[in-house]
Amino acid sequence: MVSREYIESVIAKQMRMDGRKFDEYRPITIEYGISSKSAEGSARVKIGDTEVVAGVKLELGTPFSDKPDEGSIMVNVELLPLSSTLFESGPPSIDAIELSRVTDRGIRESNALDFKKLCVKTGEKVWLVFIDIYPINAGGNLFDACNLVTLAALRDAVFPALTAENKVDYSKKTKTKLPLSKLPIACTVWKVHNEFIVDPTIEEELAAHARLSTVFTDDGKICAMQKGGESPLTSEEISTILDLAERKTQELRRHFK
């Protein structure tokens, strides 16, 4: 256990505990199809010691009355006690809900998934895309890990077959991919002792005073943001963070090439 004071003293010397630069991610790996027998799409993302898995399940449901020709997505992060002593069993904590909603927003607001193409029969049947995300080892930076693993699982996903009566036949998969047209990528920047760092370890997260997650689309537009932490951020700081986040999301995007 390392105290906030210790982390701050290291950061003040322009260093990080593990020797990384402030703007440096730990090694990232993305693996596809980790639950291909069960899920319609699945993936595993590792960022250093942090490991998350995600799976996509497709179900047929009725559309909302105001959007009769649109399907929808549901993003759910469960902070498993298997992955850290910081998490407990029971109903979703506020941290899990925030992670779910920020991850959801990046996909939804960028229109990365064409909801109209998820319509099977207007007013009656549409595809509901469930994305369930689980940390296996929580070692910091779950925000960015959840975003990456969601994109990877969606890219991996295919529609299951439909029977003649428009029922889902989960035992047969089609070759049709989901209508994913964009890759909205998140980068969360953390403010520790008046410096800005990316991809924090758990200790660095606990020492941080503020964070700002920003999701960038392929063409450099911003499609979701979330500020967290107890300290305020000035306009200048936000602008510094945006520049850093934009540069880092461009790097992260290469993992999907």
């Binding site: 256990m1 390392v2 105290s3 004071e5 210790y6 003293s9 010397k13 260093m15 505990m17």
Partner: protein, 233 residues
């Protein structure tokens, strides 16, 4: 006919038969079942005459009397502090064992040790129900200021310290850090720079990972030599 099945310093797992026959006796981490001596844990075999032990490779700290440990102050009552020493339950440090000073009734205990502070302390008593008493009344016991704490498997602390303190002296010399190794697996490190502290941390991590191998002092020496040169560059 008795027969030894394992060799000295071999990795064994729960349920492994260590020896057959009545000439051998089960020691730590082993038990007898019929004619056989069997390992009850993941560890390294140790043959001490007729006694077969299994030294743990993993596992949580179990407090013993007179252990010197590193603890975090978690809470306090009117007359004592509650201290996390890395066991399932918090230990308690009573006022009379904490200081030779006279503490007036009703005065604030956080003037002495505040919540979150770190102490080097000694276990004065352990009951079989898991109640642990601590004392600060022995040479060297004190509050630890700044620096960082790392945690390794408690059973590997003797290897970090080395014979007559040889290993820990080596690390202190090469990194210039002050280091205290608590028997509960917590190690306090304070050096001139974060790099020096990282080097000491990495060296200790190396010992933790390779504790069951031979020639460890040599390996750590080579490791430190290589990296101190890099640091000076």
């Amino acid at each position: 006919m008795s027969k030894l099945i394992v060799e000295e310093r071999q990795v064994v797992i729960p349920g492994d038969v260590l020896a057959e026959g009545m000439d051998f006796l089960p020691g730590k981490g082993a038990f007898r079942e019929g004619d056989n001596i069997i390992s009850s844990r993941l560890g390294i075999s140790n043959i001490s005459g007729r006694i077969l032990n299994v030294n743990p490779l993993a596992g949580r700290y179990v407090p013993r009397r007179d252990d010197v440990v590193i603890g975090y102050i978690k809470d306090m009552s009117y007359s004592s502090w509650f201290v996390d020493v890395g066991y399932a339950y918090e230990a308690s440090l009573s006022m009379k064992d904490a200081t030779a000073d006279f503490i007036e009734r009703g005065s604030s205990l956080s003037d002495y040790f505040a919540i979150g502070e770190i102490i080097l302390t000694r276990i004065s008593n352990v009951t079989k129900e898991g109640n642990i008493d601590l004392t600060m009344k022995a040479p060297g016991l004190r509050k630890l200021h700044s620096g960082k704490i790392i945690e390794i498997t408690a059973s590997k602390i003797p290897r970090v310290v080395g014979k007559q303190g040889s290993m820990i002296s080596l690390i202190k010399d090469k990194t210039g850090c002050s280091i205290f190794a608590g028997q509960n697996g917590r190690i306090w490190i304070k050096g001139a720079s974060p790099e020096a502290e990282k080097l000491a941390t990495d060296a200790i991590q190396l010992i933790n990972d390779k504790a069951h191998t031979s020639g460890l002092t040599e390996k750590v020496g080579v490791f430190l030599e290589k990296h101190t040169l890099e640091m000076q560059k």
